[in-house]
């Protein structure tokens, strides 16, 4: 990996990734533990011809993000807990209006004000189901400073490719920990930009998809006379809320453009799986304790595998099932009361006898012992 080695906070690595990915608009509202991202962007964006605006609340932040995305800019916001809750309204609009945007959620303890300065992974299901209605979304889970950089870039690429909001599900530990991060050289990095219309104005329709189910995206002010409509709409953007078939067709397409591309979107970091008899499933900062636990178990002769979800949503069910096929037990390690456990159990309960939830909340990571104790109880 070629680039400049830095020793920086995860939040700064994330912001640097955003700039490399081409982010030129950041709208936000200060909230712990994400604020370093906004501060960095307010300082650095003007230097590269971008814009930082501090909005009156997180509702306005998401709204202005969608507006700016439709002018052709790559856009991002960063938030946590209560702010993420306020963003759910316009996050649904970004899904419906197919506006590429990146939302970084540096998770803290909830519900309510909860624990502003403590780490958590309790927004897993909110990321999936937080706005009303049927929809599919992409959420990535970095587990290191390096991945705060790398997965933020990937988040922009996926948002642009699929015209969907992409959530970077970080947490307070990752956001504030200082680590070695290689700020990769620009030429080393693949950058994906949204498809532009091939049809001329007059023939182009705002929401007419290509065969890949993704409509090319015209920007405002390019002469296409676009009609962006958050109600159920037809391919021209015209309201069609009263037509059952129109709603069925639109919502199924918005879901299918994600669900039919799980192979392309979802990444899993699987290690020690060749001879594994059981495995840990984890993600984010909890996956670091989990990796330590797996290595220690291996030293003790326990054939434990390691499955780390780099992509939380869409959930790569086929891949997980394939890994789980010959396992006696799965242990889901996470800093919430078992949100991803529900998903793993749903996907694998016909394959694996014991699926165990190993939870810890309050703001601290699992100790290796806290993971290995229940593992040993089941395996021995």
């Amino acid at each position: 990996m070629k680039g400049k080695v830095e020793f920086i906070q995860g939040n700064i690595a994330c912001a640097k990734g955003a700039l490399v990915a081409g982010c030129r608009f950041f709208a936000g509202y200060p909230i712990t533990p994400s604020t370093e991202i906004a501060e960095f962007m307010s300082r650095e964006l003007p230097k590269v011809g971008g814009y930082y605006v501090q909005m009156e609340d997180e509702i306005g932040s998401m709204a202005s993000l969608i507006g700016a995305s439709y002018t052709g800019l790559k856009v991002m916001t960063a938030t946590s807990g209560p702010g993420f809750t306020l963003m759910q309204e316009n996050l649904g609009n970004a899904v419906m209006e197919e506006a590429p945007c990146v939302i970084v959620n540096v998770q803290r303890g909830g519900p309510a004000i909860g624990q502003a300065t403590k780490s958590s992974q309790s927004d897993i299901m909110q990321s999936r189901w937080g706005s009303h209605g049927d929809y599919e979304i992409i959420a990535l889970a970095p587990y290191s400073g390096q991945e705060m950089f790398d997965l933020t870039i990937r988040a922009f690429n996926l948002a642009e490719k699929y015209r969907v909001p992409v959530i970077v599900l970080s947490d307070e530990i990752l956001g504030h920990a200082r680590e070695k991060v290689i700020i990769r050289d620009q030429e080393e990095i693949e950058i994906i930009n949204r498809k532009k219309p091939l049809l001329p104005p007059g023939e182009y329709k705002t929401f007419q998809p290509d065969e890949d189910m993704i409509p090319p995206m015209a920007s405002l002010g390019e002469g296409y006379r676009i009609l962006v409509e958050p109600q159920t709409h037809d391919e021209t953007g015209r309201r069609a809320a009263h037509i059952p078939e129109a709603h069925d067709k639109l919502i199924r397409r918005l879901c299918a453009k994600i669900n039919n591309n799980v192979e392309d979107i979802a990444e899993i970091d699987a290690r020690f799986m060749e001879d594994a008899e059981a495995a840990i499933v984890s993600y984010g900062s909890a996956a670091r304790s989990s990796l330590g636990a797996v290595k220690q178990a291996r030293n003790q002769g326990i054939k434990l595998g390691y499955i780390r979800l780099k992509t939380i949503w869409p959930f790569h069910e086929a891949y997980i099932r394939n890994l789980a096929r010959n396992l006696k037990a799965l242990f889901v390690v996470e800093n919430n009361l078992g949100q991803m456990y529900l998903e793993v159990q749903r996907a694998c309960r016909d394959l694996v006898d014991d699926i165990i939830s190993i939870t810890k909340i309050g703001g601290e990571m699992h100790s290796i012992d806290e993971i290995l104790r229940p593992v040993n109880e089941v395996i021995s």
């Binding site: 009156e56 306005g60 507006g67 700016a68 309204e89 002010g221 676009i226 962006v228 409509e229």
Partner: protein, 274 residues
């Protein structure tokens, strides 16, 4: 014979969604004529609207249109204007849209003095949902959710945005289409936050509960109750008996996207912040 303005309308949006007698059609036409008479190409315009009856004024225009959810069009427009400051941004909003659920966006956009024209279709009630109490319903007025009379005093939106720092503030009613069109033209050419409070009739949901038998009766009431002021003396409290109209505020203040751009220019030249 085709109406000469039809060529500027998306015909698949017809017929208009408005109730018979609604004031929105007058506002739509005044805006379209002001746009056509301006020296801007139609491709330079972006029209946004919120949700509620106001939401259906923008979509028929055959220009770039951004319909948004309830209360948020000004926040969407903020992103649009920062991204493309060369575009002419017009926001249609309503009294519930701008002063209740979207009140925060209204006051902060006015404070930033971001260049956009906000036209508020102020019909003193939530028409689309069936005529409930809004932040501009007169004190003691009957609505579907104030069956004993409105217990709240109404917002004066012109005073509100003036206090926040808007560059241009005017009020007209749907009985003043000529004056309204002129103010829209002026608001469009104004560099900064321009706000026009348009008192509009909702005969279906509001007027009939006040005892008005028709839309025209309501418009005649607007005409009779209006008193024209040119200058800040028009920023006075009003109630159903007297409606101050006119161009109240027209001032030069720094515009937000220009300030953002000059900051960016300085940052690029100096290589960073202090």
């Amino acid at each position: 014979m085709r109406h000469p303005l039809l060529k500027y309308i998306r015909e698949n949006e017809l017929p208009f969604i408005f109730c018979p007698g609604c004031g929105s059609g007058i506002i739509l036409r005044c805006t379209l004529e002001a746009m056509l008479e301006s020296n801007h190409n139609l491709d330079e315009f972006v029209l946004l609207s919120g949700s509620g009856c106001n939401g259906w004024i923008a979509p028929p225009f055959n220009v770039d249109v951004f319909h948004t959810n309830h209360g948020r069009p000004i926040a969407y427009a903020t992103g649009v204007k920062i991204g493309r400051p060369d575009l002419k941004v017009i926001v249609f909003t309503g009294d519930g849209d701008s002063a209740a659920i979207g009140g925060n966006h209204l006051i902060h956009a006015a404070r930033r003095n971001i260049d956009m024209l906000v036209i508020c279709i102020n019909n003193s009630n939530y028409g689309m949902t069936g005529g409930q109490l809004s932040p501009t319903t007169p004190f003691k007025a009957y609505t579907m959710t104030s069956p004993y009379g409105n217990p709240e005093p109404p917002f004066d939106l012109c005073k509100l945005v003036e206090a926040c720092g808007a560059s241009f503030v005017a009020r007209w009613t749907t009985a003043h289409p000529v004056q309204l069109k002129k103010s829209i033209a002026k608001g469009l050419s104004k560099k900064g936050f321009a706000f026009i409070d348009v008192i509009s009739q909702c005969p279906t949901q509001f007027g009939r509960r006040l005892g008005y038998k028709s839309a025209s009766e309501m418009v005649r009431w607007f005409k009779k109750a209006s008193k024209t002021y040119n200058g800040p003396e028009g920023l006075q409290s009003f109630n159903g008996d007297q409606i101050p109209v006119g161009e109240f505020i027209d001032r030069e203040l720094p515009e937000f996207t220009e300030v953002l751009r000059s900051i960016a220019e300085e940052a690029r030249q100096s290589g960073g912040a202090n």
